[in-house]
Amino acid sequence: MGQAYSGGASVLLNTAIKRRRDLPIPGVISVRVGDCVESDTIIGSASISGEGVLVRIAEEIGLPSEEAMNTITVRIGDPVRKGDILARHRAFLGLFRAEVPTPVDGTIELISGVTGTIMVRCPPIEVQKKAFLEGTISEVQDGIGVTISSICTLVQGVFGVGGERSGKLVVLEQGGLLSSLPLREDLAGAVIVSRGSPSLEGLLDGAKRGIAGWVAGSVEDRVIESYAKRRFGVAITGDEPVPFTFFVTEGFGSIPMSDQAFFALKQHEGQGASISGITQVRAGAIRPEAIISLGKALSIAEPTEEINLEEHSLGLAVGRSVRLIRHPFFGQVGRVHELPHHPRIIATGASARVVVVELAQTPHFTSECSGPLFVEVPRANVELLG
């Protein structure tokens, strides 16, 4: 039954992972099995078909479509450069002259006598794919993508903005709401870590310092919307034009980062980290993450304990560490104490399958009880800590 519930954001220390890096569409892979790659190594490239630009010749010249065909000076397949003439019309013994230039570089793909239109296809757009994480190429799928093996520390988040970047980890000890603004001046290019919920002023100050990324415990909805200058209807992010990548490990509001995530990052302070804010919350699809490669290139011949993140995170069982992810225990962590088989009636009156969790006593969540504190919560409201 435990397998019916999905895992949470992973925190993995010194772990061998394999990561697929696929081109957006089939293209050319430029690395080979066994190659060592850095986060900014180009692993391949692909060309995406350029946009088609419609030039309404008949409309521009002021002739019916069929007649406009007589004015066209190009043929299908001709390459053209911006400004080249597509159609030329002379009337009244040459006194009236009209020319239609192409607004873009490209190739003529369509000439329509029905609509009097020419379509110019712009040149293909080249896109390059970077490795993102440091490691060894362990598999190449020709034209499609590669698999990179790496020994690393991985901290996943729950919501982020901004794409893939990298920089040195700097831990801000003050955490909280960063009351001691402004930030230090030597943070250009850094990925900073704070436990609490940064203010908008803090984020803007980070942008001013030129930081590459920021990992925090949580953030207020209004702060992230102001920072990203975007309103989020669904949790699909990553292409925001933000000055640095930002993600949170816990959620929205003022929830401190879990000890597990914070100390995983803190132990690598000063090391390079790859960070991504890309989020797609559908069946836990894509999570924002910070990856710190441990520097020793992984030999593909070397047997390793490689982690399949999905298998690793599935399986609610007695003794496993969990994070509670719903009010009123949001952000607290503990261990599974009991998994009652039959549904129970919870405080709202709903019937749900529950888990009994023994809460961990942390400085952030104080309890008046001196002994262990047990809470019964719906299974849907816990997340496994990997």
Binding site: V234, A285, T348, N381
Partner: protein, 602 residues
């Protein structure tokens, strides 16, 4: 004994239901569910299906899977093993996502939308020659979205050709790629002016083959949606389903082709309304989308099933869109407590990023139910804008009229709607059925006398596909186990100028003593069990369904929520300040006995 297992692979969860026939007919037995796994990192729908089966096995003590078999589901059913049939519906992975294009937004493009929606699709955008966008903007939009199928329409038969070809040129210029299968070409259906078909095929030849079907709008006054819908359904199975992660395997397990979830729900809603000979509305509010169905009679006495999907309104993945579209103030007005608006927004966002969590405090429950009311309101507004009587006018309609379709063409009159069926987790699994009734009353702003139902455990999609093989069995389960009759709501229509406390009329139940109802009142008359005779005598211009001031007599059946008298007016009026609003909501909840400290009536 015959046993059937049906799964519905939703965007959030996969629900497996077990039906059995014994000497007394067909019954729903039990259900299991698990997160849907169609997307990364699992990217295989069958994992979620197996997990849902696992829960079903635990709860039913039946065993369905066998590693030795291929397909792995044991057939036929024996005492505690296997199933005779395995069926499935699906809306996972965002459902069937389509773009449509036509010439005139209010005519061919709307017909194209109705064809796509009726086939169970989500329309991610509609392109029209008159949509006010430049060619460049339209091309950008088509490129940015990755539809599963493109439906190109435009022009009545024998009408304009050039503009239809221009629409095809836009599509060629954009050259969109399909969502699944990078090496595949995008399926394109042309259902426009037949004179343009050959040229459309020529223009779009570089993109692959174009399927030509009959025009969705052969004449200004006539729609012909069935051929386009059939083509969409064929593509759904051959292109979309078979290339979605894990679906090729799943298709090998099922006894009949997989059906889009909304199509299956639509079948049951139409069946429900026809059997009772009433006009009805149903809603399926899911995690990512909200589907609204109406089965209504047009002025030619034809029954028309309309289905719309609000692709960005839902209770988990899309809950943030409800927040954006409605605004936090509109959501907060339904709460029985005064709340910090920033805190509410954070809570809604946390649901967005952890979509499978459920409320475990009353405050959280009320917040989700407040969001639900707004999602219902917004999606019903969208539905009404598309539920139109195309054939309503006997006179030939000029093109100019078509641009100015007004309220006269609207198919839905709320005061004629006799029943509303609510489905989807937030309604079906509300801890108290009266909460579901109140969400529907508020969200739809029902008028006149309306009977309220909920789908007990969200089984309309399962019954829809089951009805394709065993219609009588589906009907039996619909009536016995699926529809929970909540009660009736009487919402009189009266002038907004009447002050609170103004007498509006009298209600007499079973020839008993008359009970007056007044403006602003919200009260409940408990009516349990059996059939009752209701006589409502409205005063003056007050209308309860028979016309202003005209008495109405109706046989009704008592339900768990009783007879709800809602005299808040339409649109519903709220007290001006937050404290009074919260108190008012608490009074309403107390009337329904759904506030936590409400006392049960002895």
């Amino acid at each position: 004994m015959i046993r059937v297992v049906v799964t519905d692979c939703g965007s959030t969860t996969t629900k497996a239901l077990m039906f059995e026939r014994d000497d007394t007919g067909w019954h729903f037995r039990t259900r299991g569910e698990a997160p849907t796994t169609v997307e990364q990192p699992v990217a295989d729908v069958t994992v979620g299906v197996r997990n849902a089966f696992t829960e079903l096995e635990e709860l039913s003590s039946c065993h369905f899977f066998s590693r030795e078999l291929n397909p792995p589901i044991e057939t036929p059913a024996k005492t505690s093993r296997g199933t005779d049939l395995y069926l499935s519906t699906s809306s996972a992975g965002g459902g069937l996502q389509m773009m449509v294009a036509g010439l005139v937004g209010k005519m061919t493009t709307e017909s194209a939308e109705r064809a796509a929606l009726g086939a169970g699709a989500i329309v991610i955008d509609s392109i029209s020659a008159d949509d006010g966008r430049s060619d460049h903007e339209r091309i950008e939009r088509i490129r940015a979205l990755k539809p599963d199928i493109f439906l190109l329409c435009g022009g009545v038969d024998g009408g304009a050709v050039a503009q239809v070809i221009e629409a095809a040129e836009l599509l060629l210029a954009a050259a969109p790629r399909p969502r699944f299968g990078d090496s595949l070409s995008l399926p394109i259906i042309f259902a426009g002016n037949t004179l343009a078909a050959t040229e459309v095929q020529r223009v779009l030849a570089p993109m692959g083959s174009v399927t030509i079907v009959d025009n969705v709008r052969p004449e200004l006054e006539r729609e012909n949606l069935a051929p386009a819908r059939e083509a969409i359904h064929d593509f759904f199975l051959s292109h979309v389903m078979s290339h979605s992660p894990g679906y090729r395997t799943l298709m090998g397990w099922t006894s009949t082709p997989i059906m889009p979830t909304p199509l299956a729900v639509g079948i049951m809603v139409d069946h429900f309304a026809k059997r009772r000979n009433i006009e009805a509305i149903a809603v399926d509010i899911g995690g990512a989308t909200t589907d609204v169905f109406s089965s209504c009679i047009n002025p030619r006495n034809e029954r028309i099933l309309t289905r719309t999907v609000s692709a960005n309104l839902g209770m988990s993945y899309s809950i943030g869109n409800v927040l954006l579209e409605a605004g936090i103030e509109a959501i907060a007005r339904w709460l029985p407590f005064v709340a910090d608006l920033d805190d509410l927004k954070n809570r809604i966002r946390n649901k967005m990023i952890r979509p499978t969590t459920i409320p475990q405090t009353h405050d959280d429950l009320w917040l989700e139910q407040a969001v639900c009311r707004e999602a219902l309101r917004l999606s019903f507004t969208h539905h009404r804008s598309l539920a139109l009587s195309v054939n309503a006018d006997d006179k030939a309609k000029e093109i100019g009229d078509a641009f100015n379709q007004g309220s006269n063409d609207q198919l839905i009159s709320l005061i004629r709607i006799e029943a509303i069926v609510g489905s989807g987790g937030v309604l079906s699994h509300a801890p108290d059925r009266a909460q579901a009734a109140l969400m529907m009353i508020d969200g739809f702003e029902v008028e006149g006398i309306t009977q309220l139902f909920v789908d007990s455990v969200f089984m309309l999609p399962h019954l829809g596909i089951f009805s394709s093989v065993e219609p009588a069995g589906a009907t039996q389960i619909l009536e016995r186990d699926c529809l929970i009759h909540l009660g009736y709501c009487i919402a009189p229509i009266f002038s907004c100028k009447l002050p609170p406390g103004t007498p509006l009329g009298t209600i007499i139940v079973d020839s008993g003593e008359g009970q007056a109802f007044t403006a602003s009142e919200f009260s409940v008359i408990p009516l349990r069990g059996e059939t009752h005779t209701l006589l409502i005598e409205p005063k003056g211009q007050v209308d309860v369904g028979a016309g202003p001031g005209i008495p109405l007599r109706r046989q009704i059946i008592g339900g768990g929520c009783g007879l709800i008298i809602d005299c808040r007016g339409r649109p519903i009026r709220f007290p001006p300040d937050t404290e009074s609003r919260a108190r008012r909501q608490l009074q309403i909840m107390n009337a329904l006995k759904i506030a936590p400290d409400s006392q049960e009536d002895d």
